[in-house]
């Protein structure tokens, strides 16, 4: 709740401005024209309701009108599609992709080639599925892309290290001199 000013008009304006500012923040990701229409509609509603009092509105009048409009957080319910009941859960595909990505990391020490393929697969699935994913799955896909990418990178580094060590100079033991057989008597 806002702290009331000693000047009623300032308090009235402050309450309305604070409510509309909260709506603006809550609708920040909505199309700007639609957001402007919502704010204009709310402003007209408040002005109309207060004008109907036929006297200078008090802060209590404004609070009543704002209460009728409802909590700012509830306004989005009218524009958002129906949410499934209960908390959103990530899809099985998102979970499987994350597991695949996590698997790619320890696989590096077992078989770098397999780890690279698994990591690449996880990154590809995560990036493709990320577009149409809901909020709950999106986080998992991002995580899978990050871990899968790390697995892929580690596998490549491991393979390069192995290649580097096998292509280096080979220690060759100096030939041992075999003493010539001495002629017998």
């Amino acid at each position: 709740m806002m702290r009331r000013s000693s000047n009623p008009q300032v308090a009235v304006d402050g309450l309305i401005d604070a409510y509309l500012a909260d709506v603006e923040i809550d609708f920040a990701d909505v199309d700007p024209r639609e957001r402007a229409a919502v704010l204009a509609g709310l402003r007209e509603h408040i002005d109309d309701a207060l004008r109907g009092l036929a006297r200078a509105p008090s802060p209590a009048d404004v609070e009543r009108v704002l209460a009728e409009l409802g909590p700012v957080a509830s306004l989005r319910a009218a524009v958002e599609p129906s949410a499934p009941a209960g908390p959103a859960r990530p899809t099985p595909v998102a979970i499987a992709t994350l597991l695949l990505a996590v698997l790619s990391v320890p696989l590096v020490v077992v078989n770098a080639a397999v780890a690279a393929v698994v990591g690449l697969l996880a990154v590809t699935i995560a990036l493709v599925a990320l577009r149409g994913a809901d909020a709950a799955s999106r986080g998992l896909f991002k995580l899978a892309a990050g871990i899968g990418g790390m697995g892929l990178l580690l596998a490549l580094l491991y393979a390069l290290t192995l290649l580097g060590s096998s292509a280096g100079p080979v220690d060759v033991e100096p030939p041992t001199q075999v003493p010539e057989p001495t002629a017998g008597p």
């Binding site: 199309d31 639609e34 229409a37 509609g41 007209e44 002005d47 109309d48 509830s74 009218a78 129906s82």
Partner: protein, 113 residues
């Protein structure tokens, strides 16, 4: 998880409130506070007046309503919402299927109960 009555109403309102607003506008063009006051007479239909404005903005974006400005007898001009031909057609389509839908729900619920 158990749904509360309010949670069920919230879900159902999303499907029907827009058609109730269209039905209200079928009679005559109307402004925000007037629509809100009309809907607020039905408590189960309309939880808070603020949800009307995102709804009206969406109906406008869909081309189901349009707005005009009219002089108010007490104060600045008001924004009036009017049904478009698409809005009228959508309301007709809703009105055609709603009675059967309502009867079906009622029958099933009564049979189970």
């Amino acid at each position: 998880m158990v749904l509360t009555g309010e949670a069920i109403l919230t879900q159902m309102r999303k499907g029907v409130l827009e058609f109730c607003v269209l039905a209200h506008l079928q009679n005559r063009p109307s402004y925000g506070l007037e629509i809100a006051s009309s809907m607020a007479r039905h408590r189960h239909l309309f939880a808070s007046a603020g949800t009307l404005y995102p709804l009206l903005a969406r109906l406008r974006r869909q081309g189901w309503v349009e707005t005009t400005w009219r002089q108010s007898p007490s104060g600045p001009p008001r924004r009036y919402y009017t049904l478009t031909p698409d809005g009228i057609a959508s309301l007709d389509a809703f009105s055609a299927v709603w009675p059967e839908f309502r009867r079906g729900v009622q029958t099933v619920v009564e049979e189970v109960a």
